[in-house]
Symmetry: C2
Subunit: 364 residues, 2 copies
């Protein structure tokens, strides 16, 4: 394994679109959401550990999840869990981890990945990631992994490939023309037809030096904040420094702050059975279905005259019976039962907001 | 209060159409199903106690529910709870209670009522029942209370009034022409239009002597069985006698065994806001509904874009959220969650049978 290969797992999210299974106390990444026997963060760690040694893998998460992270990843040194005192989106998270890595190894080549996605074709992923990591050592570039879209999904961001550009790292790693936000259905259909667009997986590969240069150029105030800590990383002063830094640091995503602006961004178009498992419908899409096209996840679930539904219940002592309903999401999880029309699942976010208003943090 | 007035509360049912709220361990009559603060059996007892003294009220139930009955009705002497060792439908239940009452008071006038119905207009009920009880002391007759139907309900039995008969007890208590089973929708619509039909409430009023004579005539084998116990009622031998008698006694309803055959049956047509609360839809019909016509029974229920549904959850620590569904029954009760299309609630019986097959008595 290449000792210059590093990984940063971003694990600070709270997965509110997966409520009520994902809760503030145990968000989505810490749940074995597909029932495979391993939580999503553990799957992510084991996958990346096939590319990088465990001591080169860092997890950035909220202070609240420090112990939970170590429980799920006992192979990890506690010092490799970087704790954010407040949520500040992905750019500060990456800046922090990158300075830590630069301190240890200025020649580091880094893969940055969310903790809560699924990847079904692990072999393909490992080959792709390794190739991109190798390229990142040869060029000053920022590489993102783009997934060949299979449907006009409106839940993903898209990346347009610049097919005409002469700049490319190799035949598969091409220049990016534009990043786009989540499109509406018509736009997504157009993207799919055009063939130039891929899904933005949110997985990035670069050298530590390249991304630091990009921060200097596009987010100089964030770079300056974290550069001030150089003498404090890996010392007893780090914690206090990070506390102060995060509170004054602005909240911004790496996509918006760097990737959409930089002129050395490339995309590796690939397909490794990826899903961000962002929603109940994506869970449905990624689950085994019974003869009536129901995804029944958990135990003791009986369905009658019911189709195209996703039913989740992990309480082994409880029987769930559904009769005469189609296209529903049923999640019976702890102190919340959610029953939602599967065609309206974007409403779950509003419901979570409403529940917060009514009950504060209870049930969230 | 007339000391000759007695009441028999039939409380041996298991309320399987109200599963999963009604369970073998705590059937419907022991549940405060409308959330009024009192179980149905307690409501029934308190209502009848306005007509009869408490010592004249008998409850016939399964041995299994003896203690539960006394918990719900602490005013009752334990010896007034008559325990059935096995379920044998209503005729043996009434024969047993009637012999007990005859032993105490040969001049008893008796009202027999199910334990799990609701009556909204209690004053009307008390007047009607008292008048019928008084009439039962003057004539050798069997009186049943018939409810003026308000809709073509297919869940009830109907009684046809013989409008042409000269036999009548008074202007309100008329001769019965026929009893009918639960009709189909067309038949029920015809019944409603004709004006001759009333709902069979299953509440009966007669003198102890009259119903005993009717047993002698129409169910002589049952009468003989219970007559043999005359010397044993209210002695230490009663329990063993009843055990033996019930096991050899046939199972038959009072309607089929006596009422449909006897020629001295009268019906008091009335309307006291009665429902047998036989099904979830009847619960829905009898509950307060919110502005979207949902009956939300219990605590912490939130509905969004949901109409005409009945949602029952009594767990105070659980939040139930329903989005984008119409005409559903949702019951989250202990170790069972049932979600059923409200238009298919007759399927619940099949579901209960299927659950029994799969899990034996668990969940039932």
């Amino acid at each position: 394994m290449n000792k210059n290969f590093y990984a940063v797992i971003m694990a600070g999210g709270i997965g509110s679109r997966f409520w009520p299974m994902s809760r503030t106390e145990t968000p989505k990444q810490f749940i074995d959401i597909l029932g495979t026997g391993e939580s999503l963060i553990r799957q992510t760690f084991l996958r990346l550990n096939k590319i990088c040694p465990a001591e080169n893998i860092f997890v950035v998460t909220s202070e609240q999840y420090q112990l939970l992270t170590l429980e799920h990843l006992p192979e990890l040194k506690p010092s490799n869990v970087l704790c954010e005192p407040v949520r500040r989106n992905t750019a500060p998270c990456i800046a922090y981890a990158n300075y830590k890595i630069l301190t240890k190894n200025p020649d580091a080549q880094v893969i940055v990945a969310p903790s809560d996605h699924i990847i079904l074709k692990e072999d393909v992923f490992i080959n792709v990631a390794t190739e991109a990591l190798n390229e990142s050592g040869k060029h000053d570039c920022l590489i993102t992994l783009g997934i060949t879209p299979s449907r006009p999904d409106t839940g993903y961001g898209y990346i347009q490939i610049d097919e005409d550009s002469n700049e490319k790292l190799n035949d598969k790693i091409l220049k990016v023309k534009t990043f786009t936000e989540k499109p509406n259905f018509e736009m997504a259909t157009f993207f799919l037809k055009s063939g130039d667009f891929v899904w933005n997986s949110g997985i990035f590969i670069w050298s530590a030096k390249s991304i630091q240069r990009a921060f200097q150029k596009y987010l100089p105030e964030i770079d300056e904040l974290f550069a001030k800590g150089k003498s404090m990383y890996d010392t007893s002063l780090e914690k206090e420094f990070i506390e102060k830094t995060y509170y004054i640091c602005k909240s911004i995503s790496i996509d918006y702050g760097v990737m959409e602006k930089a002129d050395n961004v490339f995309v590796y178009q690939t397909d490794f059975g990826w899903s961000d498992l962002g929603t109940w419908v994506s869970l449905f899409d990624n689950s085994n279905r019974d003869e009536n096209n129901n995804a029944c996840i958990g135990s003791e679930i009986l369905t009658y005259d019911t189709e195209n539904s996703v039913i989740v219940s992990h309480n082994k002592n409880k029987l769930v019976v559904i009769q005469g309903l189609n296209d529903v999401i049923v999640v019976d999880e702890g102190d919340v039962l959610l029953i939602c029309n599967k065609n309206n699942e974007q409403k779950i976010k509003d419901i979570v907001d409403d529940v917060k208003q009514k009950y504060n943090e209870k049930y969230i």
